[in-house]
């Protein structure tokens, strides 16, 4: 365990724990966009920045992203001050110009008193805030079908060569994790479309309900070593089946005792 000071309070934390986790445990709120418990931190949005120093640093302070900074013995952390407020406000101000149609950005920015951007707004700007949550969750799932491509202001998340990603299995994790709902998808009839790629949905053998994509099912069967017919029925029908089997067993057992 290490001892450190956050906003004047002394706290204990596990070695290797990140500052943000400790702060959240203490109930300290800092804005975050790219942070998500399911994935590795990356420090893209810079909103969770805090100012740190140590007693022997002779008053020298530096700004670090708390999501990535591991706790250290004797660290003195400040989570809210004028400088940090200015950094967070400017970041959101810049995002307002880049993603003028995003409710998510607008809501966060309004908390900093920003109704409209101080910078020239890009009317064509999309809602992607480059938090990499989608690409990171795809990496965690072991597919890495999409990745950040291009550079700088032109950067986008896309499949290889800007085409439909061949490795995508249509699991929708990216769409669900996206904080701004930028990643669009739809299910029409037996077809799911995401990243310009079309997938066939599995139809439950019993009730006919559409479940997941064939590619996703095959991937799970392989990864988790499930029986190959596992996804032929939907969850509800599977539960029904289990109940039926269990019921039959109970009846049989009762008959045997009588």
């Amino acid at each position: 365990m290490v001892k450190l000071q956050i906003n004047g309070k002394t706290v204990e934390a596990r070695e290797g724990e990140m500052l943000l986790a400790v702060m959240q445990r203490m109930g300290i709120e800092v804005p975050t966009q790219c942070h998500h418990e399911a994935i590795e931190p990356t420090g893209n949005c810079r909103l969770c920045m805090v100012e740190i120093t140590k007693k022997n640093w002779d008053g020298w302070k530096k700004c670090v992203t708390s999501c990535l900074y591991p706790v250290e013995e004797g660290l003195i952390v400040e989570t809210h001050n004028d400088k940090l407020f200015e950094i967070r406000k400017t970041i959101l101000d810049l995002q307002l110009a880049r993603s003028p149609h995003s409710d998510y950005v607008a809501k966060m920015a309004s908390e900093y008193g920003l109704e409209k951007s101080s910078y020239p707004v890009e009317p064509q700007g999309d809602d992607c805030i480059m938090c990499y949550a989608c690409t990171r969750i795809c990496d965690v799932l072991g597919k890495s079908a999409i990745a950040p491509t291009m550079r700088g202001h032109e950067k986008i998340v896309a499949g290889p060569f800007g085409e439909a990603p061949p490795d995508c299995i249509g699991c929708l994790s990216c769409a669900f994790i996206c904080p701004t709902d930028h990643i669009k998808w739809n299910d029409k009839g037996n077809t799911r479309t995401i990243w310009d790629k079309k997938f066939k949905l599995i139809k439950c053998k019993k009730c006919g309900k559409k479940t997941i994509t064939r590619e996703f099912a095959d991937y799970l069967i392989e990864k988790r070593e499930l029986p190959s017919e596992y996804f032929d029925t939907c969850d509800i029908c599977k539960r029904q089946e289990t109940a039926d089997t269990m019921g039959a067993l109970v009846v049989k057992a009762r008959e045997a005792t009588i």
């Binding site: 990356t42 700004c63 810049l94 020239p120 700088g152």
Partner: protein
Amino acid sequence: MKIDSIAKLDKWRKEIQTKQKAIKTKILICLGPGCLAGGSDKILKEFQTILKKKKIKDVLVESVKKTGCHGFCARGPMVIIEPLGIFYSKVKKVHVKDIIEKTLQKGEIIEKLLYKDPDTDKIYKEWRKIPFYARQQKIALRNVGQIDPDEITDYIVNGGYSALAKILKGMKPDEVIDQVSKSGLRGRGGAGFSTGRKWVTCAKAEENPHYVLCNGDEGDPGAFMDRCIMEGDPHTVLEGMIICAYAVGSQEGYIYVREEYPLAVVNLQKAIDDARKFGLLGDNILGTDLCFDLKISKGGGAFVCGESSALMRSVAGEIGEPRAKYVRSVLKGLHDKPTVLNNVETFANIPVIIEKGADWFAAIGTKKSTGTKAFSLAGKIKNTGLIEVPMGIKLKEIIYDIGGGINDNRKFKAVQTGGPSGGCLPADKLDLEVDFDTLADNGSMMGSGGMVVMDDRTCMVDVSRYFLNFLVEESCGKCVPCREGLFQLHKLNEKICEGKGTEDELKLMENLSKTIISGSLCGLGQSGPNPFLSTIMYFRDEYEAHVKKQECPGGVCKKLITYKINDDCNGCMACLSVCAASAITGKKKEQHTIDEVKCDRCGACYAVCNINAIDII
């Protein structure tokens, strides 16, 4: 032939010496990037063809040597005849026959090919005496321009690999590190971190393996020092890296070179192959326990990959994006293992430090910045080229004594040091001593050593716009302050160039710069606003002229200037014939006029008029 002992290396060196003694006269032909563009490869071929047919005393076909950059790019292509040091500049293929028949056969000097100082009209026969060379001191560049980079024998005969032999003969790894620390050598890539301290931390790191990386991803516009070392003396980089590997206990290394440097890649690969062939790389180097091998890792030319963490990710085959380094890369670098990453020039200094000792090196330069530094002089300066000078030399000495002053003897306005992330220093800073700390204290930085000189016809607002544009294009786009912040900063800067900026926007730019500096993830963003901040610090009046009066004092920003022909015009028609927009009209020997509407302000007429009959208003 494997050189499997130090004794064998010494013996080999003596053998080469005897062999090379037979070649009394040497004709060195610079094949550096500048001279090559001027056709020096054709000059080399011409020499070889003629000498094959002709028999001249003391001159053989082997006398003709191709070398790396000799430095004086402004006077290229150049041919140097040693041992007399005769310096022929601006040589063309047609001159080769003359040089052979007159100079080599009869010992006559061809005066028209010699260097003539444009200010004093003094003619110099020997290159060492030319002011451009006389003020320099070469350590990292000691062999560049003197030896054939393809021949390992050339390197060895000039004392190559003797520093390696010295440490293997009787220095412990910590003694090597001790020498490097004592020498005070600081990283030549820009940040100026102590090389010794870096090595010590890596050597002490418990995790294994340790890696040695060389950063050859020089990407600053106008910088070509590392390129010239890699092209002109690749073995010195290798030797520096092998010594480092011995000191920090590494067996594997990489040289990261951008693919835009094809000759550097070829020459380094040849050097690696040769070193491996002779047992200077690989297992049991020189018959000792030292095992070290290295590979070239080619980069795609992204500026951000010069940043350490992005470089390491790129070497590992991942996307070249930086990551936050709260654990230093010397402890968790390539593949999360302890890694020493040094710049090409830093490694090139190592063999000399080992050979001549730390005290010798520390005596050169200033107390806190020891040794020498290579710079590439570019921009509006007479003597463009590659130089190496002791630290602590004044900016003035570099620009006027070595650089020969400003083109057309115009007025000096600013010098940009440290590449796009560096800063522009004005005329009253010319007395500054060039070292890591002085430059940083004055709002610029040493950087890797690019030096771009600007004259009074430069607009500093436009300079800021240019470099911000470069950084916007090179930002990796991972973090918000750099991706969106630099983009907006550039946009606002562009508005000022068009005369549409406001005073409020200037204030906004200054505030935005603060967030970009403290909020960005890596060095690119953290130093990104420097072009703007250093120009507004020293040239605020120019910004104000753009914003308040819609005027461009430098006469550069197209939207704010008009060209007008004055009464001095003699109707020579020169401007009329170069005008691509057909905006100039007038008869021969009569004053011309420019149609303001048609004129696209390219400045071609202004450049071509040699009687100053065109004004920029």
